[in-house]
């Protein structure tokens, strides 16, 4: 055996898994098509992630949080409002606003807004520190052939590596998932998320604002300094038009939706756009193969939970693998992998369905639905236990949490 496990894809979820299991003494190889220097560059990924409290605890347990701390903005409050326009104009948040304060949900912030680039830099530093993870890039997994005793992973470069388990962390269009014949349930939302950084005159005070517009959710996520990251959802055709606007016109459209509560706003730096789609793998495992992160699921960003789910996959799989390894069991055996699939499937499915329904409920301007959601929001806002449950979901603290997400190393 060249390694205990081979991870196809050195993205956020893949490397989290690598760090977690290597820390427990397993031999890991990571294969990625992109060299680390490119993946950590400013142009590679413009998104930010809302790391729930539990996800941040996991990075802390893995020793990565110190490298992120200076650029991680604590989320102290979440404001959710239904921002239906009247007479075709936007007028800022409606009076019916849901307010989630971190003091309702116990100690510390609800989570942190961190640029994906910052997470990637922290991961690459940890890779250099840890030293015992073989990071092979640029290269692709050409084939993974499982047999009774292990899996042979052939790389495009011609090398073949032998391991007990192969993990597909190779993203939404996972080649390994397709080669294994695992089908997905999928649909496109017809929406595109525009992502950019916004400067505002006044401080945001750690408030994340989710503002439901008929075209789709408009999220303002606090970053360090007087900056916020914007996730601005529009129907795809309109999103393309907005992407083409010059800075002045773009900022005018932006200001109309953003409101004036944080003073004058202007966009800063490049704009990215991401088509929004839903997909869920029908199986999470195959012979000596496990899917994690976007290879297993892609959900609407409405609740900011995509990466948190991927990290939960990584934490759960790491725990299952390390526990099996410490019992001397074959980490790629069907009985081991079944435990992972069983653990993650329900959680991922329920969040996928919830975010889909939320998007359908809010991305429209139908009066009965507006009435219903305003009523629902008013009720949730008034009933403390319900509000706390929502909060604990947002912080990623609901369900059967893997040890890493509770802040314990394996």
């Amino acid at each position: 055996m060249d390694a205990d496990l081979i991870i196809a894809g050195g993205g956020l979820a893949g490397l989290s898994l690598a760090h977690a299991v290597a820390g427990a003494g397993l031999r890991v190889a990571v294969i990625d098509p992109v060299p680390l220097a490119t993946a950590t560059g400013a142009e590679f990924d413009g998104r930010v992630s809302a790391l729930g409290r539990a996800s941040y605890r996991m990075f802390d347990a893995l020793g990565l949080a110190d490298d992120m701390a200076a650029e991680a903005q604590p989320i102290l409050d979440i404001l959710v409002s239904d921002g239906a326009p009247s007479q075709g104009k936007y007028h800022g948040p409606s009076p019916l606003t849901l307010h989630f304060g971190h003091k309702d949900a116990g100690a510390g912030p609800l989570g942190y807004i961190v640029e994906n680039r910052v997470i990637r830099v922290a991961q690459s530093r940890a890779l250099a520190r840890q030293g015992d993870i073989a990071f092979i890039a640029p290269d692709h997994v050409a084939a993974a052939v499982a047999d009774a005793d292990g899996v042979s992973v052939r790389l495009e470069s011609g090398r073949t590596l032998r391991a007990s388990l192969c993990v597909a962390a190779d993203g939404r269009n996972s080649a390994l998932r397709q080669k294994a014949g695992i089908r997905t349930v999928r649909w496109a939302y017809g929406q595109t998320g525009i992502v950019t950084t916004v400067h505002h005159a006044r401080p945001h005070e750690g408030i994340a604002h989710e503002y439901f517009l008929p075209a789709g959710p408009f999220a303002i996520l606090p970053m360090t300094g007087n900056r916020s990251s914007l996730v601005w959802t529009e129907p795809t055709a309109r999103a393309h038009a907005i992407m083409q606007l010059d800075q002045g016109a773009f900022d005018a459209e932006l200001a109309e939706r953003f409101g004036s509560h944080w003073g004058a706003v202007r966009s800063d730096g490049p704009r990215w756009s991401y088509p929004l789609a839903f997909h869920l793998a029908r199986d999470y495992i195959a012979a000596r193969l496990a899917l994690i992160g976007d290879a297993a699921h892609g959900i609407h960003p409405i609740a900011g939970q995509g990466l948190n789910l991927g990290l939960r996959d990584a934490a759960a799989l790491a725990e299952i693998i390390v526990d099996a390894h410490r019992l001397g069991l074959d980490i790629g055996a069907p009985a081991t992998l079944a435990g992972y699939a069983q653990w993650r499937r329900f959680d991922n499915m329920s969040l996928a369905v919830t975010t889909d329904l939320l998007n359908r409920l809010f991305s429209n301007d139908l009066p009965p639905l507006r009435f219903a959601r305003n009523l629902g929001m008013a009720l949730v806002d008034k009933i403390a236990p319900v509000r706390n449950l929502f909060l604990r979901h947002a912080a990623g603290e609901v369900g059967d949490l893997p040890r890493l997400l509770r802040g314990h190393i394996l």
Binding site: A24, D149, R326, L327, G328, P334
Partner: protein
């Protein structure tokens, strides 16, 4: 004095039992085959085994090879479902089984896994005539299949090195065990071939502990093992009514 073959102390092997398991030997390692229940059961008994060994010999379970330097005998090793994991954890393993076919299957599999395990087609009757003694003896789901458990436990105890540890697992002779382990597992769920277990040979915990103590060992821990059908998972429990495990140690 006249006695039937089932109670003859010099012969603890029952040919019928040996033949039944031999027929299944090739399928030992198929996780979805006839030994699926054992594969499902394996993690919980291995964690008991590991924790008992680590506690007794003061080893750290989070290290790569916590059993390094321990000679371990796996009695009734079958296809090696326990021998292989404990070998990976560092033990120097002897696997003994009364069925030549099981031993053949176990040897072939260990070779493919690059594991160095001394698999032998012998019974305890033969092993006690040899000089080798062991720090750890695994006696898992065997005692309910032998003809004379009293003599068998006595032989096993004599194979322990001074300060050694024996771990046993078996089924209780209760109505619940009959309902679940015999009627349920063999007839309803078809987990096991019919006739795998003979309820009359199941031992109550007090009977087994009496045998262990009579053999000069002192009882360590005693735990039940319960199955959760909703999660399809086994866990340790206080309920001794069906499956239970215990550890016993020699006087130093």
């Amino acid at each position: 004095m006249i006695s039937g073959p089932r109670t003859a102390p010099e012969n603890t092997v029952d040919p019928e039992e040996v033949a039944r398991f031999s027929a299944m030997a090739d399928e030992w390692w198929d996780h979805n085959g006839p030994f699926r229940p054992l594969h499902k059961f394996n993690p919980v008994r291995l964690s008991f085994i590991r924790d008992q060994i680590c506690a007794h010999f003061q080893r750290n379970a989070a290290t790569a090879r916590p059993f390094e330097g321990l000679r371990l005998l796996d009695i009734g090793c079958g296809g090696g479902l326990l021998s292989e994991p404990v070998c990976r954890l560092g033990a120097q393993v002897t696997g003994a089984d009364a069925s030549a076919e099981n031993i053949g299957c176990a040897k072939a599999h260990a070779a493919r896994q690059n594991l160095d395990i001394d698999y032998r087609n012998v019974t305890t009757d033969a092993l006690i005539t040899e000089p080798a003694r062991f720090e750890v003896i695994l006696n898992m789901e065997v005692v309910e299949h032998v003809a004379n458990p009293d003599a068998f436990i006595m032989q096993c105890a004599s194979l322990l090195a001074p300060g050694g540890l024996m771990i046993l697992a078996t089924l209780n002779r209760t109505a619940k065990a009959y309902a679940l382990a015999v009627f349920g597992a063999e007839y309803i769920l078809r987990w096991l071939p019919r006739g795998t277990h003979d309820w009359n040979r199941f031992l109550r915990p007090q009977e087994l502990t009496a045998m262990v103590e009579k053999a000069g060992l002192s009882l360590g821990d005693l735990t039940g093992v319960s199955y959760n059908p909703l999660l399809d998972r086994w866990r340790l429990s206080d309920d001794l009514a069906v499956n239970y495990m215990l550890s016993a140690i020699t006087a130093r």
